[in-house]
Amino acid sequence: MGTALGQTLIVMPAYNESQSVGRVVSETCATLSGITVLVVDDGSTDGTGDAARAAGALVATLPFNLGVGGAMRVGFRYAAEHGYGAVVQIDADGQHDPRTVAALLDQLDNYDIVIGARFAGEGAYVMRGPRRWASKVLAWVISRTAHNRLSDTTSGFRASGPRAIALFERDYPAEYLGDTIESLVLACRAGLTVTQVPTAMRDRSDGEPSQSPVRAAVYLARATLALLFAYVHPKAVAPRTSEVST
């Protein structure tokens, strides 16, 4: 069955995305009727907030840039305050297809976190070189922690259920890669369950991620470090489900 759309909050972290955010918000609202979209304007200077508001989204404006982790915690806090049963994170650049949100929500009945995985069969998303190795290693390590096979741990397309909302509202890492790698490790170690569903990614509206070998190597190093730190932190306490239902 899955969580009802009226109980679902779409959270869209946006940093200087005025070119695409309006279109993505309109498309999301049109595809998922009755959905609430919260755009977290992460200290943008190009009128991202106005564009999102004009398209019909709620907009929370951060006074300065906090990164995806800070922006997402605003979303989780809003969801917890207003009693939403699910939070779906969607990128403001339009690479995530809102039609696949339903597939993610379906799995929330059985899992606390559902990842929209980019290279699990669907779509034509390819990574090469060190970036690809990095994502393989990350996937292997985190799969072991999650006791479930995950192939894409750095996807920014994710659904979180009530238990995950309660955990992330308090504790959502703001460091580099904290919103992807560290938050997953945090959730798994707190006893939350994670799964993934294959999703096709579309081309970003503007620009491709850099594939230069130096930047890929730096990414590999930083990802490894982020992973190590994620395991060094003390375990978070799993939120009790009883205090979740508000």
Partner: protein, 136 residues
Amino acid sequence: MNLRAYLFGIAAAVFVLIVVVSLLRRRKLRERHAVWWLGAGVLALIAGAFPQSLTHVADFVGIDLPVNLVFFVSITILFLVSLQHAAELTRLEAKTRDLAETVALLELRVRELGGETLGPSDGIQPTPDGGSEHER
């Protein structure tokens, strides 16, 4: 050691202590941070006033040159202080993040409350001086 060097050592230590205490008195330095510098100043004063104590301690821990003990203790204190500063900075960053997130949520709430009288998403922005007085 001549008398001038002896007096210079004591004067330097006293100067450090005076600066720290006066900062403390004017509340420009919190006790938590001042403790380190007070400790360093007192140690420097003891070592300056009683140079023999330095030699004895160096002998005791097995350091041949007493001056190396001074370097070791100084570097250790500086290292610990900067570590404490890094930890403090981390704490402050976490607090700033909390505040920024709360500001964003409160601003959204204020907008929602104001929006009820303005009508659904008409895209009207309040002016910076807060003078968005609409027909109520």
